[in-house]
Symmetry: C2
Subunit: 295 residues, 2 copies
């Protein structure tokens, strides 16, 4: 009994798993998505109840770190964080946005969902619209889809000549490198769902008239191209996986695990930034006296 | 006992108070802010516990209405809502943003905090930066300060010639009228706090080093100009109070009442819009069959 309690205590006291190591795509070779289990729970809570509880525990720490990040920016700290969400239809990008922002003060978040480019956007280089949507100092940016669409759907549906698509990987790497150098912490997450889970989620949309607007027959066409999309993701995850801006694969069949893992990833990155409240740039006692002496 | 239960039932079943009527600034004459009690709880819950519970009850309805508003926009409904928050320092604009977004899916919200204009913003007409920040179809916009600063601080601190400031009221009215005509429901809220409550809130900021970054000695200078600001607000509330775009005064000394009242105001406006989920633009049965027949 004492041994069991000690073991339990040890489990509780161990440092939280370094999700940054665990979920990071290893560098230096091709990526094989079929070797990743979309239903896996590789570390952390083992079931839904534990997952929800664990995520709730992270919320306050995340909110505190965001507050410090934002406060620091008012004193000249230019750092910011950008969560990039990619994944097949129904993989939970929208749900993640909703959930993640729930942790933070929304006034300090900059959310952007990238849809098929408009005529104006198409008249510019593909990174143009992305640059316009970047978070400012102290903010948390969230991209629901991103510049990666330009090497994903663009590749699969041949929206650009192959040579041009192939040049984009290096352009993305240079772009992200420059972001990293100017204080943007990128957290690039591929939400990995399984083929059967997608079918179930699409059927659920069809079975609920309040969700028909989220469905398009083109979703089925995309699903028919599943292998080509997986291949395009594998290429992006291999070619744009640098030390400064790595990719993470989050198993996304279980929403509670997805939410916990992404919350944890954000926590680890924000803790590494360790933003600090700025010192007052004025005499606090004097301000206090002045306030009290006013009529 | 039966009579008491019947009375209780009647109280529960009565329609929610029309906050739109209750809090609306009456038209047709000068506004006297000193006649508004910033600690009042003119209707609805009577204390904090009841206020928090009542606000929680509104959350689900607000989220549902927002979802329908957003869904409708995907089928061409151009309507949107814009909450404009004005008030003295510490009146709770930021707190309201945080709280209100808590009800909604943040991906469908567009938040903008207006600070002192940048050099670029100053080089344009004063409404320029406001037009750039408007919500798109289906969105809920939230302005933390707004174009009203250009007749408030601009008036009090003489940032523009008096003649120019005086012309702005009519410009604002034309601008807001055009918004209303293009499907923007404006909810303009003046967060009314008392002079003593502001002192308490500023002192609380000074007493907490984690909040020093929110404080500026200029806040005290502004406080010394309290009567001039109240007068500037009275003019704005009188001159820009039209049938299509009225002003609401929300007593804001009690945060729980402020949050309940603004949630209620938003609910009434969204219910009046009564957005509807669009009908599926495709054959649901066919899509279902196709999905099930895929390997």
């Amino acid at each position: 009994m004492a041994r069991k309690a000690a073991k339990e205590k040890k489990r509780r006291d161990r440092p939280p798993p370094a999700l940054r190591e665990l979920l990071r795509v290893p560098g230096g070779g091709p990526v094989d998505l079929s070797s990743y289990d979309s239903r896996a729970v590789p570390d952390g809570p083992r079931d839904k109840a534990a997952g929800l509880a664990a995520t709730t525990l992270l919320a306050e720490r995340l909110a505190g770190l965001q507050d410090r990040l934002y406060a620091a920016s008012t004193a000249g700290d230019g750092r910011r964080l950008l969560l990039v969400l990619q994944g097949m239809d129904t993989s939970g990008k929208g749900g993640t946005v909703k959930h993640v922002i729930g942790h933070f003060n929304p006034a300090g978040c900059r959310i952007r969902a990238f849809k098929a480019p408009t005529a104006e956007e198409r008249s510019h280089p593909f990174l143009w619209r992305v640059r316009l949507a970047l978070p400012e100092a102290g903010e948390i940016g969230i991209f629901d889809r991103s510049h990666y669409e330009d090497v994903l759907v663009a590749r699969v549906r041949e929206l650009a000549p192959p040579g041009e698509v192939n040049r984009r990987y290096a352009q993305i790497n240079r772009f992200e490198q420059s972001l990293a150098e100017t204080g943007v912490t990128l957290v690039k997450v591929f939400l990995h769902i399984g083929y059967e889970e997608q079918r179930a989620r699409l059927l659920a949309r069809l079975d609920n008239p309040a969700k028909h607007w989220k469905f398009s027959p083109a979703d089925i066409d995309d699903r028919a191209l599943w292998p080509a999309y997986q291949e395009a993701y594998e290429l992006a995850l291999e070619r744009c996986n640098t030390a400064a801006t790595p990719w993470y694969v989050v198993p996304a069949d279980r929403k509670w695990y997805r939410n916990w893992a992404i919350s944890g990833l954000l926590l680890e990155h924000l803790e590494a930034l360790d933003p600090a409240y700025p010192k007052a740039g004025f005499d606090v006692g004097e301000a206090r006296d002045k306030l009290l002496s006013m009529p």
